[in-house]
Assembly symmetry: C2
Homo-oligomer: 293 residues x 2
């Protein structure tokens, strides 16, 4: 790695310190097993640096389950938080929207989702600059009679505990997410993860279909070039790497989870998100907000 | 309605017979309540016609829960079928793919999903012309250790009951659906419904983003016209109304569920799907396939 860095003559060597991490937690490994067996994984080594006060944030494109398990166990959760949740900002037809949880907690209780909503509210206010962010609970219909028992219990929990804490607008449907009808979508990590991956791949599928349509040799070169630039803008709107990593909300320290297939730009943006997160003191605000529940 | 029909001079009046249905089941109504109170809804009247042998198929763009409840109760399920499931064909980067269930059964048991897979296989073979259709179980990762308890139990159920019945390829992720990695996706109706609605709205969102990009006044009129035609092709690829309605698989008779916001073309295509369904004798084949389990 040192040799590779030396190729970049002007890299800020004072600001980069290399750490040895001799083990790798594979993307397919069980997080719990990895947690026990691999003490020298890059995730564990980074978390140790934070524990020792030598680093302030973790940015990882590694095994998500392992990141969640190691940070929860070794850094701890914020006072009052029962479970950490992964929040991701996605583009919509209107303003970007925050979805929580997209994979940290696949068997949540209603309390967990309520706490996710509180954390999402704080994040949306501070990072996305939203006033009274609208919070929706993802379901298959907007009527109170619809949905699984878990979703109905969660809805009742929100109603009973909310008071004036959240601008809770009730159930929303899958179609409301990308229409930009809410600022924050709350759901369990199983559904959230599937929604995220479906959206990602459908975005790629559509731009690929479009590329095929446009490459049918009917346009002149100059027009094709113009079109390419328009397509680039569109792709940028849909490109998750532009939005950087997904913060793991609820942990004591700053933890940003990047896509396993992150490009250099995505990693850069994930580091930017970590910096913004620190600057806004979101964690303190989350703790304050949770005290009011 | 008669007056409206008379405006179309050449309509095939011998082939259209009007039936009186004095009640409406609203889209927001609870299916069970509607089932009991409204004996003269269009859904109930149509189902009665099928029961009396005067009609062979139901096509409805009405309240989905009510359609599922009324057909299950009054027409019955096929021998061996425990629950009906809604199957929908969606476009992918490769060939169209069938997803079952997208909303009939939000609290399924593993057996229900296994039966859905059998029904999907028969449908994919006969309607989509696939040989040995690849069946995937929707999860948040491909490794056996991942997923909710329900998904893991379903996976074990598939492994123990399958034998050589299905070309079961195991877990698939959200990103595999639109990449076209499988012929049939099996999931519970809660997740399936959300996936469907997310995909639908994201398709609309992306084409709208694109329209905005392309209408920035930088192209000549002739180029714009060419582009519009290309966009039309793309939209057609993504337009669910082109694929017609979604068959409710497992019921004794033919039942096609159309989108609540169906256009005339979507209804036409839903009727086409009903006709194809009848011609292929899918129900008999489903019964035969289930006998082998």
């Amino acid at each position: 790695v040192e040799k590779e860095l030396e190729r970049y003559h002007n890299y800020p060597y004072q600001r980069i310190s290399l750490q040895i991490a001799e083990e790798v937690i594979g993307m397919e490994e069980s997080p719990v097993a990895a947690l026990k067996r691999k003490r020298n994984s890059s995730i564990q080594v980074a978390v140790n640096l934070i524990k020792e006060g030598r680093a302030e944030a973790l940015v990882s494109a590694g095994n998500t389950g392992a990141v969640v398990a190691i940070t929860t166990l070794h850094l701890g959760l914020l006072p009052g938080v029962e479970r950490a949740g992964i929040a991701i900002v996605i583009p919509t037809l209107k303003d970007p929207c925050l979805i929580i949880d997209v994979g940290a907690n696949i068997n949540p209780r209603p309390l967990h989702l309520f706490q996710y909503a509180i954390m999402a509210k704080v994040y949306a206010e501070q990072i996305l600059q939203r006033e009274k962010p609208r919070i929706g609970l993802l379901n298959i219909g907007e009527e109170e009679s619809k949905g699984t028992n878990f979703v109905k219990e969660t809805f009742s929990f929100f109603k009973s505990r909310n008071g004036n804490l959240l601008n809770f607008i009730g159930y929303i449907e899958g179609r409301d997410i990308f229409a930009g009808e809410v600022d924050c979508v709350v759901c369990d990590g199983f559904v959230g993860n599937i929604v995220l991956k479906v959206a990602e791949s459908l975005g790629e599928t559509i731009t690929e279909m479009l590329r095929r349509e446009l490459s049918r040799n009917i346009f002149s070169k100059s027009v094709s070039l113009l079109l390419k630039n328009r397509l680039k803008n569109l792709k940028k709107n849909l490109d998750y790497s532009e939005y950087g990593g997904a913060p793991l909300l609820g942990t004591q320290k700053i933890c940003i989870i990047a896509h396993g297939a992150s490009s250099a730009k995505a990693i850069k943006n994930a580091i930017r998100v970590a910096k913004e997160f620190g600057g806004h003191r979101i964690n303190n605000n989350i703790v304050e907000a949770l005290k009011k529940c």
